[in-house]
Symmetry: C2
Amino acid sequence: MAEKKHEDRLQRIIEIERELGEIQDVDVLLERILTETRKIVNADAGSIYVVEGDKLKIKCGHNDTFLKELAPGEKLPYTSFSFPINEKQICGYVALSGKPLNIKDCYRISESKPYKFNKNTDITTDYRTKSMYTIPLKMANGNLLGILQIINAKDENGKIITFDQDAEMLIAHFASSAVQALQHAYLTANMVKRMLKMAEFRDPKETYPHIERVSSYSLEIYDRWAFNHNIPEAEIHRYRDNLKIAAKFHDVGKVGISDVILKKAFPRFTDEERNIMKGHTCIGAQLFEPPESLLDIMSQEVALHHHDRWDGGASGYPGRISLSDFSVKDGIVPITEPLSGKDIPLSARIVAVADVFDALSHKRCYKEAWTIEDAFTEIMNNSGTQFDPEVVLAFMQVKDRICSIQMAFPDEPED
Amino acid sequence: MAEKKHEDRLQRIIEIERELGEIQDVDVLLERILTETRKIVNADAGSIYVVEGDKLKIKCGHNDTFLKELAPGEKLPYTSFSFPINEKQICGYVALSGKPLNIKDCYRISESKPYKFNKNTDITTDYRTKSMYTIPLKMANGNLLGILQIINAKDENGKIITFDQDAEMLIAHFASSAVQALQHAYLTANMVKRMLKMAEFRDPKETYPHIERVSSYSLEIYDRWAFNHNIPEAEIHRYRDNLKIAAKFHDVGKVGISDVILKKAFPRFTDEERNIMKGHTCIGAQLFEPPESLLDIMSQEVALHHHDRWDGGASGYPGRISLSDFSVKDGIVPITEPLSGKDIPLSARIVAVADVFDALSHKRCYKEAWTIEDAFTEIMNNSGTQFDPEVVLAFMQVKDRICSIQMAFPDEPED
């Protein structure tokens, strides 16, 4: 019986390892690694920290006990903090020693150990951290990517137990292939970053914080929309991974717009110039032509249609267009029928809300920043006209996390 | 004893699988997959074909018997051909059936089989293809990436033997992780392609065939240079993988140059415009800032220094420069000391030769194509002045393969 259980877990691990290898986005992958590691050993809580310079930065935190207290579809607060690597903290100790650490009870750590458990969070949240297993995520060459920490393993009756040898072995096996998947995801993230930097060289409005915010907002909106619509888990996994990256490419087509036009401030465009600017949607879509993956397809959808309107109103563009009708060289967007409602791909409907909200709530060269409340109100006022009302509903349902993301990625000060 | 051998092979396979997972370039990876598969079962020859549309295209072909007849450091001719997928050919049959095929003797295939062995190559090259194992490279979702075919397994005395069950099992195991590595490499190749397309949107001279040629020439030059210099195998593996991709980014910095200047034909530049154009080297290097990998570092070297001269002559640029002295916004390359000799990174010295050779031997908007012989002569005439003489020597030693690459990637006809 115990052997059968062990076999089943191993089989599941192998299947999940294959799935991890196909995840492209680092954040989406880290979430999944934490979820699956916790499932393997039935752990109540956990976190992943990544190395950034000489600091550890939290990337995700789970806690089933807290989650049960929330309404269905709600998530724990979005957290963003980092701390210097230091052997007095458990994570820092594991980072420096490079070895896993299995603690039976965090409240009974021997005084002789260099590290201590910090009870502050337990006290403020009324939680009891007991068993804890902390493992370094190390590459084959020894470089440390981050720290995986799981807390409070449970037996079949929900009683907190210690992480046993079997759990240690399973987690070590799983972590090693999680690291391989992570290395690939970092490579992809690096390439994405270079592509976005190319666009930023041309249009300095397309800054790193703006793009990170739009991408993170989009993921939050999608997660809530998918909950509201009972989307199956496998589809959610696939969609959110592609959306997280595709959202970043929404304005990448600006790379093909003449800098004479790009450098003008928006309200002073002539009609012709405005029409050329609209071409950034088609140029962006052309960039992913011919599409070779689901990511390419979604990147095209987002780039092409994030300025189309839910009600098909005349200010939306480029409308119902075939890419073959557009030449990057001429840059002229042809006159088209409007595209509206669900004919606009979901990904583009989501990014439309995320992009406009972010533009409103931040300073641009041609406008001051709106207050975050005014920006939320503006989005709501345009629900059903400019924006898909179900997307706006999901957006408003995750308002708290949107605010936290905004604070986690502030604009850099102007020089 | 047999068990020990089996164990050793398995151990080696696991180690190689890890190494495969770190290779970024598709062509470099395919070469390595073929080499390692052949080693596992001691096969004399083999090929890999990839699916392109409804065709199979050869990507690499090995034959130890032919190789032994060449001078040390020489390679077999560069081959480039493709054929429609068709069950009458062995590869096509395996592609369509999706199952491995183990043939004991290619000259004794039963008449009842739909496929036949084509003896033409054997006849013209005086070779005897006997045992052959052909396996589809299929993704987890069933999509076919290509066909791996290995020929003439040998026993310890060099006698041709059949691929036995043990060999089948080892190859199947190896192929499945080779496919995973390939999927990642294709993802990377896709991203690289999109980055280059962004540059091509701005400067139509930076076409796909030009970039593929420069990158493939660079690999050939490096391989020969590394042979001439007795570079250890592990370093060669790492270097050629990075160089193959980094070479493609040599002019990617043009994305940051104003289109007013880019669209002018070269000889008509004013001094100021020419100076701004020179900034593409620094912009390219900035794109990979801060470097996160060996690929980033090499991409910076190539972008920054592929116009510096071996003799430090005044027409080389940007010279001894610190990236912090260059602002993408201003675009002015500061006045610097010249950089010369081995202070110019090897990668940049190689790409310098590859890039100039390709520009000379092809038509540009401001000049006609030179004959390939004139282009080779021009490179030789500038050995020791513009170019590193040892790089030019290696280049001339692989002249035949350079010519074949040129034919494999012709310029597209102008519209």
